[in-house]
């Protein structure tokens, strides 16, 4: 059997698995994927690999006693065995008071995240597109280190109440660091697409080369509060920490930024500048995502922060039931609305500021305020009178993305961006922020 099943094949396989079930409720999740990668450093290939994976997970429940078992072999005997094992584990398990039962059939939105161009990538295609990148760095006598990873696959699920879901998807991520041979300059670029045909490794490499050359001979300027322009690659790793915290249960329990005094949450509060709107939408053509979550809940377009106000927090089905709310699954993508200005326009309108192209090693210092620390990396520039004047040495910052979005000056045009911290893709605009807090200097290049 192929690893990547069609919708009909997945349905047939899942129906067969459910036919073995003797439990009160049974739910089966299925995935299949093929991944390939090519890694290079010092202008030559260092490692490469490929991975083929398929996995089937069976959850059986007797009342509130739940057992889960998984298997990666799909012959009839194995399928029956995994169902029996999940049932045995369920019978042995203590009652899970948070088990809320499986969902009935759901309606899902259409989302196209599968592209043949990505599914058809071979080791030779990978070597070809990497060769295009290497030619440029070698010709400029710069040192390139990069990573190309593509995957295609599907996920599907079915349960004993008749729910069925299927979603095929593809993705390619490319990232590259180009350094000058004297170690004084370093530039970075990252690109993520669902459609491999959109990936232009030569164009991306030119950006990293430009940043590597432009960042050499950086000057030290005093740490302190500065107006910054964050490129989307820099902004996204800060915003992600807001997204991770948008959970109703931890807010209601009083242990998150979204909690407030008296056991309340910040739902409905204006927490950031009114130009900030953050939403999820599985059907966005630039950032397609699965229209269902792992427990079968439908994903719809959802406002999380609208005009600065907290509109929604994710409610698990258990927590929603306990609190008398509507369940809301954690989203499969995140999009921040922006304006129409280009990065160049934003630089032109800046009298004095710092252009930050990438941030690195982001860690939460205080969950109460989502205070984060980390450093600038691979190209940081001083702006004066609307022009980039010179590269500056890297800074460490201590800043909360909440405070940052209250100090918003302007937003540019959103673009698809790959997070260097989580490898997830988002749609995020470049943003200009006043009084961003840099706390020390770093000699790192």
């Amino acid at each position: 059997m192929a690893i990547i099943l069609t919708e009909a094949e997945a349905k047939a396989l899942l129906t067969k698995v459910l036919s073995y079930s003797k439990a009160d409720e049974c739910e089966v999740n299925l995935i299949g994927e093929e991944r390939g990668n090519l890694r290079y450093a010092r202008n030559e290939v260092s490692t490469s690999g490929s991975l083929i994976n398929q996995n089937l997970q069976v959850q059986s429940a007797f009342g509130k006693k739940v057992g889960v078992a998984t298997i990666d072999e799909f012959d009839d005997a194995s399928l029956e065995k995994v169902v029996r094992r999940s049932e045995e584990l369920a019978k042995l398990a203590p009652e899970n008071p948070e088990y809320v039962g499986v969902l009935g059939p759901q309606q899902y939105l259409k989302s196209n995240g599968f592209f043949d161009s990505t599914a058809k990538v071979t080791p030779d295609t990978r070597a070809d597109v990497v060769a295009k990148s290497l030619e440029l760095s070698r010709a400029e006598n710069l040192a390139a280190a990069g990573f190309l990873q593509d995957n295609y696959g599907y996920s599907a699920m079915m349960n004993s109440k008749g729910l069925f879901a299927y979603y095929p998807s593809t993705n390619v991520n490319f990232s590259l660091t180009v350094r000058t041979n004297d170690g004084k300059g370093s530039g970075y670029v990252a690109r993520g697409y669902s459609d491999f045909n959109k990936l232009d490794t030569a164009a991306a490499t030119r950006i990293a080369i430009q940043k590597a050359k432009g960042s050499a001979e950086a000057r030290a300027i005093e740490p302190g509060k500065y107006t910054v322009i964050l490129e989307p690659t820099a902004a996204v790793v800060l915003l992600e920490n807001i997204f991770y915290n948008m959970d109703a249960r931890s807010a209601d329990e009083g242990r998150s930024y979204f909690s407030k005094a008296g056991g309340k949450s910040r739902m409905g509060d204006k927490i950031v500048d009114e130009r900030v709107t953050i939403y999820s939408d599985p059907t966005n053509p630039e950032l397609p995502a699965s229209p269902w979550s792992g427990d079968g809940q439908a994903q719809a377009k959802t406002m999380w922060i609208e005009k600065g106000v907290v509109k929604n927090l994710a409610y698990s089905r258990y927590w929603a039931q306990k609190q008398g709310k509507k369940p809301l699954p954690y989203p499969n993508n995140m999009i921040m609305a922006g304006g129409t200005a280009s990065l160049e326009d934003m630089i032109k309108s800046t009298q004095r500021g710092i252009l930050v192209t990438k941030l690195w090693y982001i860690r939460e210092v205080d969950p109460q305020t989502i205070l984060l620390t980390g450093l600038t990396r691979d190209g940081t520039f001083y702006i004066e009178n609307g022009k980039i004047k010179h590269p500056v040495k890297n800074f460490r910052f201590n800043e909360s993305p909440i405070i940052m979005l209250n100090n918003l000056e302007s937003l540019g045009k959103p673009e698809r961006v790959l997070s260097t911290e989580s490898d997830q893709n988002y749609l995020i605009p470049p943003m200009k922020i006043r009084e961003f807090t840099f706390t020390s200097l770093s000699d790192a290049v």
Partner: protein, 546 residues
């Protein structure tokens, strides 16, 4: 280290998923299945030989084969509930070759016969040949003698997988109950156990069969002040260890008493959580630190992470050379600094040692993942940089004839590469206790436990938090502080090291999840030290008003 991966793994991430993201190709099994014997060593040798022969006949100049069975057990609880118990097993084979001067790697799940092995070997050779066109120079592999058929077993006293699940659940639920009784509003506790059964064979003639065990019991308690809406947490002071269930044996000799109890090779989880609940509550009333310069007294439960980030990583030769430039970064400790033989990494008190043999440590094995017998070596001697951590295809660059034996892959399905050995600060040579050290500090902060951590890509500028902070005034601990983080520069920091307590205080800390490489691989590593004093370090206040 990637803590977010861990949080997702145990289901403490924001999404609140209860099933861990299982390692690639792993399947859940019954607890009993974890005790079943793996494949017989004679069969493994036969399978390995099939791959070695197939690769050679296709033109490989070097081949190694790793047949691995990886077992995990997680027991995850919160308050009075067991959230999940997961047992996983992953079995497969990874074959690595050099052909046409280039590395190639291929892995196969559930390889059961000679034909599967030969197919994986042939695929690895084909990949090596395809990629050879992108190489400028052929791989140079340090020679390694074959050891024949050898074996190594971690010296554990009680196999954690043999301990009934009920015993683990009962312990965690009583830990949670103690937390709630002593002032915590919430508590999450986890027991995480690993057994790697690894067989290595190479065309050099080594066949090494190894059995490795690791354990990490840990918790987080949260105390909320409903009036202010503020919350404080305190994490476990346990360490992940290369031990069996004997780590949870309460033993007075393994306790280090003082302002709070810390633990050596035996962890009293109930006692620690009781203290943690009270301390999380006490943090609400603690004084917010005044920013400025302080002398820091750093407990081993804290200092391990600073060693890991500011010594372990920058002295990895592959980083120094640029192989990690696109992700983890490069290093300030460039080859010219090492060649000068006079680069002051730290003060004269600073001796930093790499070690793949330390008993009870996470990094201890008999042979590394490219068949090199493990050892101990100096990285920084009396403050001077003397060496790096390097493996077979890079060690020639530092003029060494043989690898230092620190090559590792986190699964049979991942390709092995240079990973950090246990890197530790040697205990002070003159007798000195923690009390004696504190007595001499006029304006200082005593830090226990690891907290927030961040360091730049060349490992100069870092910032660390902690779990517990105590203000020292004129040789006395005068109270608890909060909102503390220190920022420094690696060379400046290690040169400010004024004293290291003697070996009576020596303990291991460590990480289960040190992330490196693309795709990212996770490695477990320990770092030992005694309490050490660092003078005049910059401390910032991390409180913010929102």
């Amino acid at each position: 280290m990637n803590r977010r991966d861990f949080n997702q793994l145990i289901g403490m991430g924001a999404a609140g998923i209860l099933l861990p993201n299982l390692p690639a190709f792993s399947r859940t099994v019954s607890p009993e299945a974890l005790l079943e014997a793996g494949i017989d060593v004679a069969v493994k040798k036969r399978l390995a030989d099939a791959a070695l022969n197939a690769a050679k006949s296709k033109g490989a100049s070097y081949t190694d084969v790793r047949i691995g069975r990886y077992l995990n057990q997680f027991v995850i609880t919160r308050e009075d509930k067991v959230q999940n118990i997961v047992n996983t097993e992953s079995y497969g084979v990874g074959v690595r070759v050099i052909a046409d001067g280039c590395w190639g790697f291929a892995a196969v799940v559930d390889a059961k016969n000679e034909a599967d092995m030969a197919k994986a070997a042939e695929k690895a050779v084909a990949i090596a040949k395809a990629n050879a066109r992108l190489m400028k120079e052929p791989v140079q592999l340090a020679p390694q003698k074959g050891y024949g058929e050898v074996s190594w077993k971690a010296p554990i006293k009680r196999n954690a997988f043999e301990v009934p699940i009920k015993e683990k659940v009962d312990l965690l639920l009583s830990v949670n109950s103690a937390a709630l009784q002593n002032g915590a509003n919430y508590v999450n506790s986890v027991m995480f156990m690993v057994n790697e059964q690894k067989y290595f064979a190479s065309s050099d003639g080594t066949y090494a069969d190894q059995d490795i065990h690791r354990i990490w019991p840990n918790f987080t308690v949260t105390a909320i002040d409903p009036k202010t809406g503020k919350f404080e947490t305190r994490n476990t002071l346990s360490s992940p260890m290369g031990m069996g269930y004997e780590y949870l044996q309460v033993n007075p000799a393994d306790k280090v008493t003082g302002i709070t109890t810390r633990y050596n090779k035996g962890y009293d989880m109930l006692e620690d959580v009781t203290a943690a609940a009270k301390q999380a509550r006490a943090k609400h009333a603690a004084k917010s630190v005044e920013a400025g310069k302080y002398d820091l007294v750093l407990d081993p439960s804290h200092l391990w992470l600073t060693i890991h980030e500011s010594v372990g990583h920058p002295l990895e030769l592959d980083r120094v050379l640029g192989y990690e430039a696109n992700f983890a970064g490069t290093s300030f400790a460039t080859l010219d600094k090492w060649q000068s033989k006079n680069f002051n990494y730290g003060s004269k008190q600073v001796n930093l040692i790499a070690d793949k043999t330390q008993v009870g440590s996470l990094g201890a094995v008999g042979y590394d993942d490219e068949g090199v017998k493990t050892k101990q070596w100096d990285l920084v001697k009396d403050g001077t940089l003397v060496n790096y951590q390097a493996i077979r295809d890079q060690v020639h660059i530092i003029g060494e004839k043989e690898s230092q034996g620190c090559c590792y892959a986190d699964s049979w399905s991942s390709v092995q590469f240079q990973r950090m050995a246990n890197v530790s600060l040697a205990a002070g040579k003159t007798p000195l206790s923690v009390q004696e050290m504190i007595k001499d500090v006029k304006k200082g902060i005593y830090i226990i436990g690891d907290g927030s951590f961040s360091i730049d890509q060349q490992r100069y500028n870092f910032q660390f938090g902690g779990q517990l902070f105590y203000e020292i005034k004129n040789g006395e601990i005068v109270g608890m502080l909060k909102d503390v983080a220190y920022q420094s520069n690696t060379q400046e920091f290690w040169n400010s090291c004024a004293q290291v307590c003697d070996e009576r205080d020596y303990r291991l800390g460590g990480s289960f999840f040190d992330g490196k490489g693309q795709p990212s691989q996770s490695s477990a590593v320990s770092h030992g030290s005694s309490t050490a004093r660092f003078n005049g370090v910059n401390v910032i206040n991390t409180a913010r008003k929102i």
